[in-house]
């Protein structure tokens, strides 16, 4: 790959490439077909021809579109067949993208499961999707926190700790002042403080960034649990922040299905979508974004052209802390309305997974967060319908797919090259 070494003469380069691409296409097609056949066998053949699945398509009290009634078996056959067709299509296009084709096939499989679970019953389809979006919110914020740090070259495995601390900070200040907005602000500030701590120990003191992240995670868990017992247990009124009410954007909310889903949320939902799309633009289209990426990929080069490497890293890690702060505040002010010990419960690590799964790109992270949120929400959906599928395996899915992704089984992600490396100027 370097310029100085001439490429070794390869006897038949195009043949090698040809068989490699062929094998890749065959693998994608095989995976799609496998998933499709599994859907047909697992769901199509276990349903009877007289079963009907009813899917609720509207939020409670709204009646814009009719609910969907599907004959379970036929729907399962059609969807499974669709997945197989995707596999066939993968053979016909040059270099099929595994994420598109296999991802699509898995999506069809999930849809089949959703329909099948609602056989002879009523599945809250709208609730499933809106719940997924809600659960994706903190994961997306956390993933944004991670990618802001890592795009500038600082590893952040402390998302969990930052979110937990911010959840606590937001709950206690919102309760004390009686204002949710001040609580939200203080949650973001708590995140910023922890981001600054992470920045100082990893940039100023050059501590191994994974050790630093472990410190923050343990410290935040210990400190919030300590204060929860010490302060919140004694002064219960400091743990009643309340939650943000959803508000609606007029006109847009009238769109069937998507309207209430996207335009009737609380402040966190809007902030999440806004932040993701803003960053997707800013990272790749502004001077700030270019500098951040330069510092994360090749700090020496960035330094040479006069970019202050450490300053950019400090700033980005603090921004990351603030994003994690938003995610943390979601737990107390957006969802639970109170702080509980260890209430983030591993969501920070799912966010880390979402960042990796989304390949350090804001949109990718959002998609990953939505998928992971869906796998959590599907669990609730299925338990309401009394299906025999053990929920633990669904909850395992985000972690397993992340391992599959980092192992390069579906195309190795491109990691910021200088991620985790201390930069010493001068040298």
């Amino acid at each position: 790959m370097t310029a100085t070494t001439a490429p070794a003469p390869d006897p038949r380069p195009e043949v090698v490439e040809e068989t490699g691409a062929r094998r890749h296409a065959l693998m994608v097609a095989g995976l799609c077909a496998g998933v499709g056949i599994a859907a047909v066998v697992l769901f199509g053949l276990t349903a009877t021809s007289d079963q009907v699945s009813t899917l609720l398509m509207n939020p409670r009290g709204v009646d814009t579109i009719p609910n969907v009634e599907l004959p379970t078996q036929i729907a399962a056959f059609v969807l499974g067949f669709g997945a197989v067709l995707l596999g066939v299509q993968a053979l016909r296009v040059p270099n099929p993208k595994i994420t598109v084709y296999f991802g699509g096939a898995l999506g069809l499989f999930a849809l089949t499961l959703v329909v099948w679970a609602a056989r002879d019953g009523t599945g809250a389809f709208y609730g499933l999707i809106s719940g997924s979006v809600a659960r994706a919110t903190p994961i997306a914020f956390g993933a944004i926190a991670g990618l802001l740090c890592e795009r500038s070259g600082v590893i952040n495995i402390a998302i969990e700790g930052m979110m937990l601390a911010a959840a606590f900070g937001a709950a206690i200040t919102a309760s004390a002042t009686g204002s949710l907005w001040i609580g939200l602000l203080c949650g973001v500030l708590t995140g910023a403080v922890f981001g600054a701590v992470h920045a100082v120990i990893s940039i100023r003191y050059e501590v191994d960034q994974i050790v630093g992240g472990t410190f923050i995670n343990i410290f935040a868990l210990g400190m919030t649990s300590y204060l929860a017992v010490r302060v919140l247990a004694r002064y219960a009124e400091l743990n009643r922040p309340g939650t943000f009410r959803p508000f609606q954007i007029p006109l847009l909310v009238e769109i069937p299905f998507l309207g209430p889903l996207l335009f009737s949320q609380n402040v966190f939902g809007f902030l999440m979508f806004g932040l993701v799309f803003f960053l997707a633009w800013a990272l790749f289209n502004t001077r700030w974004g270019l500098r951040v990426r330069a510092v994360g990929e090749h700090p020496r080069a960035a330094d040479t052209v006069g970019i202050r490497v450490r300053f950019i890293r400090y700033r980005n890690v603090i921004y990351g802390g603030m994003a994690a702060g938003l995610g943390g505040a979601w737990f107390t002010l957006g969802s639970a309305g109170r702080f509980d010990q260890n209430m983030t419960n591993g969501r920070g690590f799912i966010a880390l997974a979402a960042m990796i799964f989304g390949r350090w790109h804001p949109i990718g992270a959002l998609i990953a967060a939505l998928i992971f949120g869906f796998s959590e929400q599907l669990n609730d959906y299925l338990s309401l319908l009394d299906t025999p599928i053990p929920s633990q395996f669904l909850l395992m899915a985000p972690y397993v797919v992340t391992i599959v992704v980092v192992a390069g089984l579906v195309g190795r992600p491109r990691v910021p090259a200088a991620n985790g490396q201390v930069y010493k100027s001068g040298g």
Binding site: E206, V207, V211, G212, F219, Y226, L395, M396, L409, V422
Partner: protein
């Protein structure tokens, strides 16, 4: 894609490592050895003292009575200081009393430190091989599940049953660790990411197992397994001093780790790969094999650690079974500078802190979670000697540089 020069993965390891060459001239004789020891201990001891001091400040400034006293600081400063000092003294006194103050307390400390030492050895051994094993939690759960399955399923005499359960626990953890090593060696997947993910996979797997008939206690719906039968429990040799033989096992294993690392070819390979994988590969060592082997042994140690909890102090599986030990282990491996003897010392200290914290909570109502804050601070101060240096005005050379264990996700 990475060039050797661009890979700062592993800087030269610590001074006690022969691979690093002679770090400094040691004065001859016992005095010289003692001075070396003192120098080596200075950093960790200062880190512990600093962490305890910060912990004390946190205790004071969250205690309602002490805060009241501080409010009157300008009218009666002595009172504020007195109240604070009293609070700190009683808290830490209670911590000491219920960890080392009596025979019973000491026994509790040793029992607590058993799994900490074993899982700490797991992290330390992986460190030596250049791997950051953050997956102790998953490995100890996997190990404990295997051991529990043996314990529940079979009905054998102790002489057979107990060794079987111990081996099963070690193997279970070993397999969980080997997966991380395999993924790293085969695909280059960073071990920190895969081990975090496998931690959660293990947690969910445990949740699932506790809903199945095999593991769920008959007649219960909550996630709890039956008590382990007496034939797999670690025996307590002395009746008046209730420490099970798991503690001796942990000490033996620590010695075994030292022997493996310092006296065998395999151990030399591990340290060589840890010090510089490129040089090791150039020297003809199988880096991939060594990575897989190191993670397998590390996983086995963590699995054994989980097994000693299950067969010793807490003879039942519950949801989230002692996952926090996996993170404590990182702290104590750092504190022990990744050497087996250091890990034993740090394990005893953390065991004492955890055993003492319950007594402290009972006596002064200081929540036990303060111990985790102190542990976190110990991690920080050990990893960033510069902070301790600034606080205590110690010269640079006495404390050595901070350790680096991992490269970025991207570097392979």
């Amino acid at each position: 894609m990475t060039t050797p020069a661009a890979d700062p993965a592993v800087l030269p390891p610590e001074a006690d490592d022969p691979l690093a060459g002679a770090p400094h001239e040691r004065p001859p004789g016992v005095a010289g050895a003692l001075r070396d020891l003192a120098r080596g201990l200075l950093g960790p001891i200062l880190a512990i003292i600093t962490a305890l001091a910060v912990g004390a400040l946190i205790i004071v400034f969250t205690d309602p009575n002490a805060l009241d006293a501080w409010r009157g600081f300008f009218s009666d400063p002595v009172e504020a200081l007195d109240a604070s000092w009293d609070l700190i003294a009683t808290s830490y006194r209670a911590l000491f009393d219920s960890s080392l103050g009596s025979q019973r307390a000491l026994a509790r400390t040793l029992v607590q430190s058993t799994p900490l030492i074993l899982v700490g050895l797991s992290v330390a051994l992986a460190f030596k091989a250049g791997l950051f094993n953050i997956g102790g939690a998953g490995q100890l759960i996997a190990g404990a599940m295997c051991a529990a399955w043996i314990g529940i399923t079979f009905d054998l005499p102790l002489a057979v049953h107990l060794p079987m359960a111990l081996v099963a626990g070690t193997v279970g953890g070993g397999v969980w660790g080997a997966a991380i090593g395999f993924l790293k060696a085969r695909t280059g997947a960073h071990e920190v990411i895969t081990s975090i993910m496998l931690n959660f996979v293990a947690l969910r797997l445990l949740d699932y197992a506790l809903t199945t008939d095999t593991f769920r206690r008959p007649g219960r719906t909550d996630p709890i397994s039956p008590e382990m039968p007496g034939s797999v429990r670690l025996p307590v040799p002395i009746d008046s001093f209730r420490v099970h033989i798991g503690f001796l096992l942990a000490l033996a294993v620590a010695w075994g780790c030292w022997w493996l690392l310092q006296r065998t070819t395999v151990g030399f390979r591990m340290r060589a790969v840890g010090a510089n994988p490129h040089a090791a590969r150039y020297a003809g060592m199988g880096v991939a094999t060594t990575t897989v082997l190191s993670m397998t042994i590390a996983g086995g140690l963590a699995g054994l650690g989980g097994t000693t909890i299950l067969l010793g102090s807490t003879p039942r599986l519950t949801g989230g079974f002692f996952a926090s030990v996996g993170f404590d282990a990182i702290a104590l491996a750092l504190l022990g500078r990744a050497s087996p003897i250091g890990v034993v010392g740090a394990g005893l200290l953390f065991g004492a802190l955890q055993a003492g914290s319950t007594g402290m909570q009972a006596k002064t109502s200081t929540p036990i979670d303060i111990i985790f804050v102190i542990q976190a601070l110990i991690i920080l101060f050990v990893a960033a000697p510069a902070i301790v240096r600034t606080v205590w005005r110690v010269k640079d050379t006495r404390l050595g540089a901070g350790q680096r264990f991992s490269a970025g996700w991207g570097a392979q």
